[in-house]
């Protein structure tokens, strides 16, 4: 009995967090962390969820967050469902219902959004004829962006060490450890020389998750730690960090190599759902993004410099 209740409490907390972000509009990340603490949520996980789902953007360096504008979009394979992303201020569902009624749109808006099993804010999937999407969005003063994932995918560059890294020598006074190229685990127990080529994680004052790629004796500071596994040269017998299951339309991502922000957002925009975590051992798991069509999966993998075999 306790487990589902805890899930419901977490679900309510995620929904309240998004409500608060939407009513405030923007603020400092310090306030965001305080709000997460108040709601009993892990701030990193909550921010990851809000960012992936297209609700809130974070600028951790400047210490700011800002809610994203509300957007109505389509998802692949389920054309009768429109996904609502972005800000969710007070009474937004009621207002949508009123607008739909006033304009007599062929739309059904559920009383409650669909829960995320306590892992993120609930999903709003509106039962509608997609032909009504634009008029509904216009009447509700929200942005209509059909197939937003496709447009987002078209913008993603090929991720290479050069595009996401800048030459910078790390300050070796800070704690640092190499990343195992096989498992992608951070190996604080390895005694590698500082000058050795490979992927390194640093804990600095300004960034406790700093990542450096050392190649041919030159260090590149990566823009985000998530890029690391995708720019690291790995042994030929390593498992790929991302694989696609076409029959189930699932994009499976190694837990040690989470997708970079925009790639994760493109995957989430296929369903509005957080990835389902599949554990194989205590710290070994995959995140399964659902309802990802073959085209989306291929573009994500191509952008990450991976070979695509499912097409």
């Amino acid at each position: 009995v306790l487990v589902p209740r805890r899930g419901q409490i977490r679900q309510d907390a995620h929904d309240a967090l998004l409500w608060w972000c939407s009513e405030g509009g923007s603020g400092g990340t310090r306030q965001f962390v305080d709000a997460c603490q108040e709601l009993g949520l892990d701030a990193w996980h909550a921010a990851w969820a809000l960012s992936q789902l297209g609700h809130v953007e974070f600028d951790w360096r400047a210490g700011r967050f800002a809610t994203a504008p509300a957007v109505l979009t389509t998802i692949p394979g389920v054309p009768s469902r429109l996904l609502l992303c972005g800000a969710r201020p007070t009474g937004y569902l009621d207002q949508l219902r009123v607008t739909a009624d006033e304009h007599e749109f062929n739309v059904v808006i559920a009383e409650e959004p669909s829960h995320q099993f306590g892992h993120g804010p609930a999903t709003v999937l509106i039962d509608a004829d997609p032909a009504d999407g634009q008029p509904l969005a216009t009447a509700s003063r929200i942005t209509w962006a059909p197939a937003a994932r496709r447009q987002l995918l078209s913008l993603l560059p090929t991720i290479t060490a050069e595009t996401v890294g800048e030459t910078e020598e790390p300050d070796t006074r800070f704690p640092h450890a190499p990343v195992d190229p096989h498992t992608l685990q951070v190996r604080w127990d390895w005694e590698w020389d500082d000058g050795r080529d490979g992927l390194w994680r640093y804990r600095t004052f300004t960034d406790p998750r700093a990542a450096y790629l050392r190649r041919n004796g030159v260090s590149l500071r990566l823009a985000a730690v998530e890029y690391g596994p995708y720019v690291l040269e790995r042994p030929a017998d390593s498992d790929p960090p991302v694989r696609y299951l076409p029959a189930r339309q699932v994009l499976a991502v190694d837990g040690a190599a989470p997708l970079p922000d925009l790639h994760a957002r493109a995957a989430c925009l296929c369903s509005g759902r957080m990835p389902l975590r599949q554990h194989f051992a205590a710290d070994v798991y995959e995140d399964h993004y659902v309802n990802v069509d073959a085209h989306t999966a291929a573009q994500i993998m191509t952008s990450l410099g991976m070979e695509v075999s499912h097409l």
Binding site: G24, G25, S26, Q31, F58, A66, L152, L262
Partner: protein
């Protein structure tokens, strides 16, 4: 009613003032005041198209005309209406006919100043000035006044309570007014002229919150300048019975606020915003004045002319003004107006990067700022080096780049004063919306460092004792909107629960995936990347690139197989798909009743193989090649109804006839 009638008729003013000051439903069953001030008269006049600058004169003209007000007669005629009205059977159909006369007595009180709280003489002088009469000698400077305010105001209270059954509110009258007569109209005032002038600074500080509907009384109590209000207004501010009337009065006042402040000498000051251009070793100072709707000439203290421009345009300022700012703030005097513009506020000016460049901000918050200063202490903080912008400035001035909040003097940081906790007991936690408000379902809790159990009162109700070190959860207030008050021993805490915040800055962080440099930066402020290349991504919103080409798919709701005849003559059969597992998991699988016909843009005929209702739907008005597949389907659905216009039915019939003809030929060929 035309303006001419309104000018001359007290009856029309009675009706207009009644709806302005005591509207039906606005404060039903709650305490109200007859808070007539200049704003109220202007609002009442506006309902009859009387211009703002004529409103008070028109009101007084109507009173003087109808009541034949002279120095000897005073308000006698109005007071004489009391007895006949009193004798009318209840409920009386209309308001007391002397309502407008009562209003003018309150209007006079509203014009009293900070130092005139109990000055009876000052009150009568203001009333006489309004009415255009001289005060009489003796104990009654205005004839008829005593009767009017003592009996008339009670009669108005009775009419509101009994005849109107409280639907316009219940008039709050002092039991023992002081002074005994003048105290009655004074008690009806909320804000005086002096208060409204001072409120300019309050409005400037909290305009966003006020416009977003935050409780104005709580905001005013938290405002650091509230001690400068008149003693009368300060008394009103802490009177719980007057909370709603005062909130309404402040909302009315802010709606008519012209953006000006009033200095200590009573002179109007238009706030200005400096913009700074700093490029190629040059610095340009420009001044924008949000309250200016037209260009106007202003002069500096030294007589130099500056042509201020209508907002949002800005006018260039000479650098020499910085010399003047060394000792005191620099103002420009507006020609032809008794008002100034604040040009340079102090010897330290803060700027932050906005969409249009560097723009002045009042205080530093979390992020580094640019600072134009001649403050030696601050200059010492950032010595000559890479953070000093190299540009010609008056001696002693420097432009400092990226000064962090901790490098700035305390006075220039965002003040914590207005949200400071009360010593002994404080509010913490919850989901704060700022400015003393919390999100409706997530109130704060009370923390207390008093070392012994102390009594707690929540919203006027006894809440037992608070033990030392134990926080007081206020969950019982969750979902109850409005102001709340918690008294812990001698400490009084106030906050508001709201379901709406400022919603400011939505969409203000964006990503630039097509910009090589900005891609690495992740989400950054939209103001700081005006030159970013390519598309901008904010959540699921993508701007800066052409919209995606997208056509809505063809959806159907049939629970049956559909044979689709396409434009090129091929045929495919589709059945309703099973809902995806992930959608089932979240309880939405059952609701998927619409499904897609692939290639719907080329589907000409939809033949629905439904057992009870087989039918043919025309989708596109086009002829299709008579392929074997097409004729087979036409033959199969030959007897079924066609949903479409006459033309569609004729086209389908041609296919059916052709199918029959082919069938006959095949039969004939078979027989041969």
């Amino acid at each position: 009613v035309d303006a001419g009638e309104a000018v001359t008729s007290v009856a029309v003013w009675n009706a207009a003032l009644l709806e302005t000051l005591l509207p039906v439903g606005g404060s039903a069953g709650q305490a109200v005041l007859l808070a007539c001030d200049d704003h109220a008269v202007v609002s009442a006049a506006a309902s009859h198209d009387i211009p703002e600058d004529r409103a008070v004169d028109a009101f007084i003209d109507a009173l003087r005309g109808d009541y034949q007000i002279t120095t000897p007669r005073g308000l006698t005629s109005a007071a004489r209406q009391i007895t006949p009205y009193l004798s009318q059977p209840t409920p009386r159909p209309g308001p007391p006919p002397f309502l407008a006369a009562l209003c003018v007595t309150v209007l006079a009180a509203s014009r009293m100043n900070r130092d005139e709280r109990l000055s009876t003489r000052a009150y009568y002088q203001r009333l006489c000035d309004l009415l255009g009469i001289d005060p009489l000698d003796g104990s009654q400077p205005v004839a008829g006044f005593k009767d009017l305010v003592q009996r008339g105001m009670r009669l108005l209270a009775s009419w509101l309570e009994h005849d109107e059954a409280g639907r316009r509110g219940l008039l709050l009258l002092p039991e023992q007014p002081k002074p005994v007569r003048v105290g009655i109209p004074i008690s009806q005032t909320l804000l005086r002229g002096r208060d409204r002038e001072l409120l300019g600074a309050f409005f400037a500080a909290h305009e966003q919150h006020l416009r977003a509907g935050y409780d104005p009384v709580l905001l005013l109590r938290r405002w650091s300048g509230h001690k400068r209000l008149t003693n009368h207004a300060q008394g009103v501010l802490v009177d719980p019975k007057l909370h709603e009337p005062l909130a309404a009065a402040i909302r009315t006042a802010v709606s008519g606020w012209d953006g000006t402040l009033t200095d200590r000498a009573g002179r109007r000051v238009f706030p200005g915003t400096l913009r700074l251009s700093a490029t190629n070793g040059q610095i340009g100072l420009r001044l924008a004045v949000p309250s200016l709707s037209e260009s106007i000439t202003a002069t500096t203290r030294s007589g130099q002319t500056v042509n201020l421009r209508a907002y949002p345009d800005a006018a260039g300022l000479p650098h020499q003004l910085l010399d003047e700012a060394r000792d005191e703030p620099v103002r420009l005097t507006l020609q032809g107006r008794h008002a100034d513009v604040q040009a340079i506020p102090s010897q330290t000016i803060l700027f932050t990067l906005c969409a249009g460049g560097l723009e002045q901000i009042p205080a530093v918050a979390d992020e580094p700022v640019w600072v134009l200063t001649c403050d030696p202490a601050l200059l010492n903080t950032v010595p000559d080096g890479p953070r000093r912008f190299r540009a010609p400035l008056p001696a002693g001035w420097a432009l400092l780049v990226d000064v962090t909040p901790d490098e700035m003097p305390e006075a220039t940081r965002v003040s914590e004063q207005e949200g400071a906790p009360v010593r002994g007991a404080t509010l913490a936690g919850g989901l704060p919306l700022g400015a003393g408000a919390w999100l409706l379902d997530h109130p704060p809790r009370v923390l207390c460092d008093i070392s012994e159990p102390v009594p707690v009162i929540v919203d006027g109700h006894d809440h037992g004792y608070l033990e030392p070190g134990e926080p007081l959860q206020l969950d019982m207030l969750a979902g109850v909107p409005g102001p709340h008050f918690v008294e812990v021993d001698v400490y009084r805490l106030e906050f508001e629960l709201r379901d709406r915040g400022l919603r400011a800055g939505i969409g203000s962080l964006v990503r630039h995936p097509q910009d090589q440099t900005l891609l690495r930066a992740g989400a950054v402020s939209v103001d700081s990347v005006a030159g970013g290349i390519g598309a901008r991504v904010c959540g699921a919103q993508i701007t800066g690139v052409p919209a995606l080409e997208w056509r809505p798919p063809l959806l159907v709701i049939f629970n049956a197989t559909v044979h689709v005849i396409y434009r090129d003559g091929h045929v495919r059969a589709f059945s309703p798909p099973e809902p995806p597992v992930w959608l089932e998991q979240v309880g939405l699988g059952h609701a998927v009743n619409r499904w897609e016909i692939p290639g719907g843009e080329d589907a000409v005929w939809l033949c629905v193989a439904s057992d009870p209702h087989p039918r043919v739907l025309a989708h596109i008005d086009a002829d299709v090649p008579a392929t074997d597949e097409v004729l087979d389907v036409a033959d199969w659905f030959a007897q079924e109804p066609v949903i479409g216009d006459d033309n569609a039915r004729a086209r389908w019939q041609r296919l059916v006839d052709l199918a029959a003809e082919v069938a006959e030929q095949e039969e004939g060929a078979g027989a041969a």
